[in-house]
């Protein structure tokens, strides 16, 4: 594992993104002003514009970073799961357990999904940010769809199973679970939703 040392400027940029992300998940993008970001980051307005061309550029960088981190996280979990079982179904079920456990271990609950946040304010963003957001969901879909196809080969499901919808359901349950957890201020709700999804997958592929 390589740990790149950040230069001074990169560290500031990352700090700006951290602060902006917290704020945006709490108040929305339009509700978050550059003034409050720079105040918390301890820099000036112009310092901000050294790192980002404009506010939309901040939005894009934030989303890109979120997607990249998710990619790293999920590849890691899938890899762990694959090491624990060769069977595609068992491996997938292990993955979902690891995912649920990880969400349980966040003391303040999941801070929120940037993709979901952006979807509810997409008219604020340029076309490329919207496209990037959609791409994030497509990546999830393909990742899960791929796993489910391999499971279906070995454990033939009933004919009417909508595998595409089952793949998308992972995103849906995660995003829905985050909303539940945030709204009701109960961090346990998200991991429990993931475990429901897991139970469904288990049932749907178990021989009748």
């Amino acid at each position: 594992m390589t740990v790149r040392v950040l230069s001074k400027g990169e560290a500031t940029r990352e700090r700006i993104l951290d602060i902006a992300q917290d704020a945006v998940l709490a108040k929305g993008f339009a509700g978050t002003s550059l003034d409050e970001i720079i105040a918390e980051a301890g820099i000036t307005k112009s310092g901000f514009f050294y790192h980002f061309r404009d506010k939309n550029d901040l939005a894009k960088a934030m989303l890109q970073r979120y997607l990249d981190r998710e990619e790293v996280l999920f590849s890691g979990l899938f890899k762990q799961a694959d090491e624990l079982s060769e069977d595609p179904l068992h491996s997938f079920l292990i993955f979902l357990k690891l995912f649920a456990d990880l969400m349980s271990d966040m003391p303040n609950g999941h801070p929120g999904c940037i993709v979901a946040s952006y979807v509810y304010q997409d008219h604020l963003f340029s076309q490329d940010v919207r496209a990037l957001n959609a791409e994030g969901l497509i990546v999830w879909r393909n990742r899960f769809r791929d796993r489910l196809d391999r499971i279906a080969e070995r454990y033939p499901p009933r004919a009417d199973l909508d595998i595409d919808a089952l793949a998308d359901m992972a995103s849906a349950v995660a995003d829905g679970g985050i909303i539940l957890s945030k709204c009701l201020r109960d961090p346990s709700l998200l991991p429990r939703q993931i475990l429901q999804y897991r139970a469904y997958v288990k049932l749907v592929f178990s021989p009748a």
Copy 2:
């Protein structure tokens, strides 16, 4: 069924709420200005403030109306389903089918859930709006929990079933499905998620 005739002022108020809701679901609450709302409604700023004390009051009225309409809609669907079957499981499955069909019939897809939108900008709102938002989710939970309890009495599920999570899963799948549909611009994704939830409920209560 009683149809109240709206007075002139009430009609304007409803129109403001309609316009505001579309805008808020597209751009977020902070991203929606009173200026654009009044321009589209064809009134002046002061006209707006005759109907709402301030912007937060608009947020509250919008949420309250959304919750009330949802209540009417779901009571109706449950009633329809109950008329088609006395069995709690069958009735619930019919309800879910009706719900999915209704979502399918929206030509441009579901416009978005105010509750989910507010969750991702809750620091913008006063305490009472946040409480109302949480209450909306609690109402769903209780409604579904109640149905599921009655089903579980007649169709004993396995011991480890998390009925609370299964009840919440209806909201999660609906909110997650809306996000999928909106982000990927595919109205079919939401009803298909609801049908996945239906398939899970069916499986989980069918004797092993």
